[in-house]
Symmetry: none
Subunit: 241 residues, 2 copies
DNA sequence: GCAAACCTGTTACACCCTGTTACACCTTTC
DNA sequence: GAAAGGTGTAACAGGGTGTAACAGGTTTGC
């Protein structure tokens, strides 16, 4: 759990944001450098060995998107995008370009930290991360989920019927294991719906899913709650091959 | 699992979209060529051996639909359509013409990649890809459906008589396996009728078909219900060759 | 031509799925 | 330690789904 302190480059044209964020990251055991523009970021990247870039998508001059594209194409540096508004188009664009994650402003620094750690964990584990989205079969902790057959089989070989919503939720988790997913993301990933003000539907679906896959739903081992952040699927996931 | 890199032709009149998408595909281990119009696409198809075409349905000049129709009728090239809006009509038209799949804009590139891989998997299984619409025989999970004879034979060789409505429905499913089809699409695909307000006819036909082909109609394995979405045929389908 | 058999859309009702609400409990903050 | 706010989940309501029953239409057999 104690990484040898990863180095984060924070790129944002707002001084407040980038410095506060950098301080917060340092306070939490990471190293951080700031850059106020895409040009400064390029210099910083040449000067020091950076492990991950947090990048505002909207900046004067060369904007975040084009730098992001550059980063993703050339080096294999993980990128987390900051997007001003929860615009669907931005999100799609960000993922298209190949950002590893995105966070919408105003963001919770804890959430961002969790995402940074999740991305670092992912990118350091696997030499080259593969998109598990089209896996037909996924395994975790003795369980088997057949995506095409929409069936879940427990370690002893018994079929566990899932509702459509539970199936979707489990898929979302399995595609992004060991990553903190907040409720809005999960809602988007499962139903595509936009979050409303007091939406507890994800909490309820998680509760229902836990009842089916956790040995002791009161002390869940597979789906952990990240207080103030969301949920995280903790088991190792592999494809059926 | 590691194909010798399939070659995708991306046809879209928006430069941003086609280039970003092409880059994304290449980054994920595929080869990609772009074309900005149907005419350019035709040239590209003659010049290089393409495995699959991703095609925007709305383009100035000769539009995507007519090129799609051409591709499906002449060559045996799988096609994935991009449709601007989630217009049901577009979707149905695309499937009618024989596109292998469609994706609505704004699309999630990961999803598109997954669909591309799924289509490639499906079409590469069969030595010679043909439009499954005129398949004489289709196999799934031990069953045989003879399209010309309109006969269904179960795994033990017993003939299971189908009404014409049930036959139509099963055909619709077999032509689009592992795809969620909503009730309106199924209604259109089977009867060509437009949906009325409270139309439960598809539900009833599904129920009747399940009674004939599912081992346990109460716990269906072949035709799964997608709550709020429609139905999905889950078995692998191949032609009789 | 007639009746029986069959097919299929409609209706009705039981059941299931899921979002909302409410409240107890927990974590964090001050 | 109290206040504020996040989380777990039971209970409920609304709406989606399965399917039996029925009616009208069509086909089949004679």
């Amino acid at each position: 759990m104690n990484e040898p302190s990863a180095h984060i480059l924070v790129v944002d044209d707002h001084r407040d944001i980038r410095e506060t964020l950098a301080r917060y990251l340092v306070k939490n055991g990471l190293r951080a450098t700031t850059a106020e523009s895409a040009a400064h970021a390029r210099k910083a990247l040449k000067a020091a060995s950076v492990d991950l870039v947090v990048l505002d998508i909207m900046m004067p001059g060369e904007d975040g998107l084009s730098l992001c594209r550059h980063l993703v194409e050339t080096g294999s540096l993980p990128v987390i995008l900051l997007t001003a508004m929860a615009e669907d188009t931005d999100r799609v664009i960000g993922l298209e370009i190949g950002a590893d994650d995105y966070v919408t402003k105003p963001f919770n620094p804890r959430e961002l930290l969790a995402r940074i750690r999740a991305v670092l964990r992912r990118t350091s584990q696997v030499p080259k991360e593969r998109d598990p989205i089209d896996q037909e079969q996924m395994l975790f902790d003795g369980w088997t989920l057949s995506v095409t057959r929409r069936e879940l089989v427990d370690p002893s070989g018994v079929n566990v019927p899932l509702s459509s919503g539970e199936f979707q939720l489990l898929c979302a988790f399995l595609k992004r294991p060991k990553m903190v997913l907040n409720r809005d993301q999960l809602l988007d990933l499962t139903t595509g719906r936009a979050p409303t003000v007091f939406d507890r539907s994800i909490d309820n679906q998680v509760s229902r899913l836990r009842r089916k896959i956790e040995e002791d739903p009161k002390d869940p081992k597979l789906i952990k709650t990240v207080w103030g952040g969301g949920y995280m699927f903790t088991a190792d996931v592999s494809d059926g091959a």
